[in-house]
């Protein structure tokens, strides 16, 4: 319990420190310091057996461990990257950025460990708020537009999710049960809950948390926010906040699956997932802005998550593995994309060409990261996407599986039309070179992330394998 408390309190203390430290140079070092401490606690927590505490409100289960590992690792990489990045951006006061990142880490950690739907909702709402000033870091007309869309759509989404939670609570009142918003009791109640209210709660939470995840058609804020935010903020949005939205969806999924009447939920999830992948694939073709491209790729992978929940069975193992694979691969891509953006002072593929020559490390990372994310062996996303794909066939959904592969193929080709010129093209001759060069702290963190997903793809350590299978079993057992 102490460790779990520290998990949320240490980032908050870090935020306080970032607020107090007056020097713009020294302040960013708070980020890696807190990130390392956080990651240390995360590893300790994942090794220890834990039981629910505080009357079941706070409980780190296997699903939580998967998310916590992913968030901790990604944040650590972003934190080291931030130190050097903020040196490049001396002209900006970085107090708000450092504080926002740390408050967000605290809120994400709280979301992961909470088994009370109300607390989970609060934590997810806090992540949205704490990231809003960070999207606006560049202080121009484009970023204010992106921030407004992000803030408005995510706030409405999260409000709709709250209505879903109220419906769920009300369904217990209608059924004449002791009202509760705890995951455990609700799973026990599920078969007795009135179907109409439970369905309504599910749909509202799917739409609400779906807006936060960026599922189509609620994804419109995503390309703008991811495109205008700095690379490391984009990485946290794609690998941290989007996953928190997914976690919210997982919790209601666990309750709905326990109700026994699963057909409706499965079809909703499969339909929503396929639609998101399809929309993303369409917009990925002919996308000229490589940061917006990453946003659509995130829409695609969120769709994949939801699809996997709908398929069930072995796909759940794939989904849990993909939380780690997708989160870390997004970190590689966003951080490398940020470097390329700065090297060319543009994020358009017509201007930013030939990154491999200008910034060999970042260019190479962007290319290999792209291959990793789209499911090339031997990287981790290959293993997870393959599990989801094969589950579609073994669970008797061959049409869904075939459709999914087709769309992923279109998305892959669409992305390669953007990534290949950016990395391998002929650098423009008439443009001035910016002062940006790859440094160990800017190219190192994405390189380490890439190394991790490559190693995990080749060989999944036994403890991690057990955590992932336990998480999948938790999702499965709730049926």
């Amino acid at each position: 319990m102490l460790l779990i408390t520290l998990l949320t309190v240490i980032p908050l203390l870090g935020a306080l420190a970032a607020w107090i430290i007056p020097s713009n140079d020294r302040r960013p070092w708070v980020l890696p310091l807190v990130a390392c401490l956080h990651l240390l606690i995360v590893s300790a927590l994942c090794a220890l057996p834990l039981s629910p505490s505080r009357g079941g409100w706070i409980h780190l289960d296997a699903i939580g461990r998967v998310f916590l590992l992913e968030i901790g690792g990604l944040f650590c990489a972003c934190a080291f990257y931030a130190v050097n990045y903020l040196q490049y951006r001396q002209e900006r006061n970085n107090r708000v950025l450092c504080m926002g990142m740390l408050v967000c880490l605290s809120a994400m950690s709280l979301a992961v460990v909470s088994h009370h739907l109300g607390i989970l909702w609060l934590a997810i709402e806090t992540t949205t708020l704490s990231m809003a000033p960070l999207v606006y870091f560049n202080r121009n007309a484009r970023s204010i537009e992106a921030t407004w869309k992000y803030m408005l759509i995510c706030s409405i989404g999260i409000a709709v999710a709250l209505l879903g939670i109220f419906f769920l609570a009300y369904s217990t009142v209608v059924a004449g049960l002791e009202p509760s918003l705890l995951l455990g009791p609700l799973q026990g109640y599920a078969p007795k809950l009135p179907v109409a209210w439970l369905n309504a709660a599910f749909v509202f939470m799917l739409v609400g948390y779906g807006a936060k995840m960026g599922l189509a058609p609620m994804h419109t804020w995503k390309p703008d926010a991811y495109g205008e935010a700095p690379g490391l903020v984009g990485a946290m949005l794609a690998g941290g906040l989007a996953n928190c939205g997914f976690l919210g969806l997982i919790r209601i999924y666990q309750i709905c699956m326990a109700s026994g009447n699963v057909h409706f939920y499965r079809s909703c999830l499969i339909g929503m997932g396929l639609f998101s992948i399809a929309v993303a694939a369409i917009f990925l073709v002919r996308q000229t802005d490589f940061k917006r491209m990453l946003a659509y790729s995130s829409v695609e992978h969120m769709g994949l998550f939801v699809l996997a929940l709908g398929l069930g069975g072995k796909a759940l193992y794939g989904a849990m593995l993909h939380v780690i694979g997708n989160g870390l691969a997004k970190g590689v891509l966003f951080l490398a994309a940020g470097n390329i953006h700065r090297a060319f002072a543009s994020k358009n593929r017509d201007v930013a060409r030939g990154a491999l020559r200008r910034t060999p490390w970042s260019g190479g990372l962007f290319l290999v990261g792209f291959l990793a994310l789209t499911g090339s062996p031997p990287f981790l996303p290959f293993a997870s996407e393959f599990s989801i794909f094969s589950a579609a066939f073994t669970n008797g959904r061959p049409v869904v599986g075939a459709f999914m592969v087709l769309l992923l193929l279109i998305a892959f080709m669409g992305m390669s039309f953007t990534v290949l010129p950016v990395v391998l093209g002929e650098p423009p001759k008439n443009r001035e070179r910016t002062k940006y060069r790859d440094t160990p702290l800017l190219a190192g963190p994405p390189f380490v992330l890439l190394l991790i997903i490559a190693l995990l793809g080749l060989w999944l350590p036994q403890p991690l394998y057990r955590i992932v299978t336990d998480a999948a079993a938790l999702l499965e057992a709730s049926r």
């Binding site: 607390i119 000033p133 204010i144 407004w148 409000a159 009202p179 209210w197």
Partner: protein, 214 residues
Amino acid sequence: MNSAPDQLLVLVLLINILILGTHRTRVAIRAIATQGIVLGVLPLMIHSFHSHILIITLFVLLAKGVCIPWLLFGALKKVDFGEHMEPFLGYTGNIIAGALATVVAFAFAARLPLAPVHQGLLAVPAALATILIGFIALASRRKAIHQVIGYLLLENGIFIFGLLLTESMPLMVEAGALLDLIAGIFVMGIIIKQIGREFSSMDTSRMTALREVD
């Protein structure tokens, strides 16, 4: 429909229509503040007296009646909003849509499988109507600050539905939700000021730099 809580809920419904129909931002902010105060008083009248309920009332009055209107007026002060902008559908169209939404909410609520104690209560249709009108305001308004008011209507509607559950919701969650709402409005207020500076207007339909090129 003669009891005091029901009369207050009718007031809430009237304020909804007022907000849809007014073109003056200050009136809209005052209206949403009044609605917040009404909502703050409601838990006291619906539930039996309890310290938990009293604290919620105080929180709501402070948040929705004082803090949020103050933040919104603060955002207005920095922005020159002399120009006058018709919402999509126009004001008359908005009022008609609002009235229709209220009718639909009543018709729909009558068919919901409610708990026997809540049968015939005005709270459920009032919640649905306020949520729907919030969405109408969000979809039709172009000024950023009016979109925030639409969002607040949505939140108020959800709050009315939450009244049915006040006794089962933990205080921490309610208080936290209100705190998050205040923080959210605070952030939105800052963004509105920046929008006013960058675009010299709060018209969000001018924000078209970010879109897919074709």
